[in-house]
């Protein structure tokens, strides 16, 4: 570690974040050191257009080392090549590139392609030169997250037509006897989000799957910059529907840490409670949904009914079925604890019904047999590609932000990071059940306590150019926000990373060797958000 710090040009500490700025030549070594020697997890990677502040782009790679509540953020400055004031646009070969980490740290591969699409910074030696976020018809040399970018009318028109192919996208092709391709989507048969899947199958067996996502890309990060910090909460709630509360909690946490606001005990307890309520309805819904994948209609219907009860509870407690409109910068906007009795009584009913459902599911051989050994995600792949949440824990990686970086009430609660070794669909279901029981006991523990303080602690002025991380464990895995203020305390940059962005790349590895009819089952067992991933 000292060797790393010695190489640093600039070190800045902020709470549990350590920003280590390194020279271009050391960037790869520094990251490789954390990844290989310290077993660090790549939490997120992003760029910022700081040309108006420091005259350079900055690439950040955020690592955290297991067992240490600390984030190591390796920062690399990229100077724009000097060119005449009204000179031509950047052309290929201009040195606006950074050393790619992908070859050593496969988890970085999507982040780097995203940075290339959004900022036009080229990850040198990245094995995949294709676009990630934007499809063929998006105008070339258009980089939305640069500060001086706005979509022109002609670009908007070209994009909308969807005809002009400027950067053709080549699906990876498998060649050989008997291989055929099955294209699926973006409009699917069920009531789900849009995405395209290209299967290369041999008979019934999936040999290779390439998902093509980002159909629901809505320019969320750019939109954050035009909102104030307070209004940003509403947008954070709408990044991924069923993780509304986790997203807004992570966003609020980032802004609060930047302001230096500390939540009252009561607000912390309420936020923790609602985070667990969100996990609860998601996990029950997911367990029920798996039954839709195996054709066990009774299980599906029973799961849906329990989920509906929890959604109605959400509505009664907060006025929103998706727990929206509760989080504020500095606290929460509604009294939660007067509803304690109601939450308790619903939990009693839900616990009983859920036990009955599990008895049914575990006792149905035809159901369990489909789940066992299906969609196996190996520990190695999960680690290399940086899987998070249930997907990682079911493959034996005990990564849970609630443990690794305790926040809110989690350091005062007694619970485990539940893991399984098998990595198949059944393991993911069992991790969900264990998590769910944890959530129920956490909710009960929190309801038993008495808490001091106001609901909202109020806000403070934001120091110029302040920046901070916010994070939480959502139902699908770790959620990260990184926010930065401009000179006047307005929004300069918001980077968000939903767990689905980390977990989508592992899906093709999990379905390899399975039969095509089991794909929906594998997909449901991960239950990834398209909107959260596409942003």
């Amino acid at each position: 570690m000292e060797k790393l710090l010695k190489k640093a040009i600039n070190i800045k500490d902020h709470l549990n974040e350590q920003y280590i700025e390194v020279a271009r030549d050391d960037f790869r070594d520094a990251c490789r050191y954390l990844w290989n020697e310290k077993d660090a997890i790549l939490r997120l990677m992003f760029a910022v257009d700081e040309r108006s502040i420091s005259g350079s782009f900055k690439v950040h790679a955020v690592f955290s080392i297991p067992g240490m509540d600390r984030f190591f953020i390796i920062v690399l400055s990229l100077q724009e090549p000097v060119r005449p004031a009204h000179g031509p646009e950047l052309v290929e070969g201009d040195d606006l590139s950074f050393p790619s980490l992908t070859v050593d740290i496969p988890a970085a591969h999507w982040y780097e392609r995203e940075i290339r699409d959004m900022f036009g910074l080229n990850p040198q030696d990245h094995p995949d030169p294709r676009r990630l976020v934007f499809h063929e018809s998006f105008p070339a040399r258009s980089y939305p997250l640069r500060k001086d970018w706005a979509i022109t009318d002609s670009d908007a028109k070209e994009w909308g037509e969807g005809m002009a192919e400027k950067e053709p996208y080549r699906f990876m092709q498998v060649e050989g006897e008997g291989i055929y391709e099955i294209p699926v989507g973006p409009v699917h048969a069920g009531i789900i989000e849009p995405g395209h899947f290209r299967f290369s199958a041999v008979g019934e067996t999936i040999f290779f799957l390439e998902p093509r996502l980002f159909y629901t890309h809505k320019g969320t990060e750019k939109l954050f910059e035009s909102f104030g910090f307070e209004d940003g909460v509403n947008l954070a709630e709408r990044v991924s529907g069923t993780s509304s509360f986790s997203h807004s909690a992570a966003y609020c946490m980032a802004v609060e840490r930047m302001m230096g606001v500390h939540l009252t005990e009561k607000a912390e307890a309420a936020r923790t409670l609602l985070l667990e309520m969100e996990r609860l309805y998601n996990h029950i819904g997911d367990i029920g949904n798996l039954c839709a994948g195996t054709g066990l209609t009774v299980g599906y219907a029973r799961g849906a009914v329990i989920k509906e009860k929890l959604m109605q509870l959400n509505q009664r407690v907060t006025g929103s079925r998706y727990l929206r409109g509760v989080n504020l910068i500095g606290g929460i906007s509604k009294e939660i604890f007067p509803h304690s009795d109601h939450i308790r009584s619903t939990l009693d009913i839900v616990t009983k019904e859920y036990k009955g459902l599990m008895k049914l599911l575990l006792g149905t051989v035809s159901h369990i047999e489909r789940l066992e050994n299906t969609g196996v995600l190996s520990r190695e792949i999960a680690r290399k590609l940086g899987a998070t949440g249930v997907s990682a824990r079911a493959s034996g990686i005990p990564d849970d932000i609630r443990h690794a970086h305790p926040h809110l009430f989690y350091d005062r609660l007694d619970f485990e990071a539940n893991t399984m070794a098998a990595g198949d669909v059944l393991a993911r279901m069992m991790v969900r059940t264990a998590d769910l029981e944890c959530s129920i006991s956490i909710i009960r523990t929190i309801l038993d306590g008495r808490y001091q303080g106001e609901n909202a602690a109020g806000t403070r002025a934001i120091p110029p150019f302040a920046a901070s991380l916010g994070y939480t464990e959502g139902p699908r895995g770790s959620i990260f926000y990184w926010v930065m203020a401009d000179h006047a305390g307005g929004v300069f940059r918001v980077k968000l990373r939903s767990p689905s962005f980390c977990n989508w790349p592992v899906v093709p590895f999990a379905v390899h060797g399975n039969i095509v009819p089991d794909f929906p089952l594998c997909n449901k067992s991960f239950n990834l958000s398209y909107s959260g991933c596409d942003m």
Partner: protein, 178 residues
């Protein structure tokens, strides 16, 4: 199984209740009966819905899925969600229409046989909602395909969607199958 049924009969086990705040008042119940007639008249007893996600955050989708659960049970009105636009009478579109979904939405619309209805479901679908003005969205379904009605809400509750569908049918007077 027979034992279970008997047990339920003896215990008079109740069906899952409709959410309290949505209990349908008696006069509205009449409307639902009326609606059934309408569906009979216009769509010959069945309204088939194709849900299309055009960039929504997924909350609207889950509310549509909830419509098919035993609590809301949309099938009892003669409506159901279908797997292909080719089977659909109505497109229920959610989301602000992200630019990368625009083409797919247009194609879905063209693939739906006439006569057809289009409903924009949710605030985003109406005018872009919170995403209005972003470079990557088309600010509402109506900018891309013709829309017959909107269901507001972020997301609209299953009851709101149900009621919206019912209202739409009530005001659709033109006989569609000419």
């Amino acid at each position: 199984m027979i034992k279970g049924i008997l047990k339920n009969i003896i215990r008079r086990k109740q069906a899952i209740r409709f959410p309290e705040e949505f209990q349908v008042p008696p006069d509205q119940e009449l409307e639902i009966v009326d609606l059934k007639k309408k569906i009979h008249a216009i769509f010959r007893r069945s309204l088939r819905i194709r849900q299309v996600d055009a960039g929504s955050c997924n909350a609207c989708e889950w509310e549509c899925t909830a419509l098919t659960n035993p609590v809301y049970d949309i099938q009892r009105f003669g409506m159901d969600f279908v797997a292909s636009p080719r089977h659909a009478d109505l497109l229920l579109v959610t989301g602000p229409v992200s630019r990368q979904m625009e083409l797919a939405l247009k194609k879905t619309y063209l693939a739906t046989p006439d006569p057809k209805l289009v409903i924009a479901c949710g605030d985003c679908a109406r005018d872009g909602g919170i995403y209005k003005g972003s470079y990557a969205v088309a600010n509402g379904v109506a900018r891309v395909i013709p829309v017959d009605g909107c269901i507001p809400g972020c997301p609209p509750t299953p009851t709101a969607i149900l009621k919206g569908l019912l209202d739409l049918l009530r005001y659709t007077r033109k006989p569609l199958d000419t």
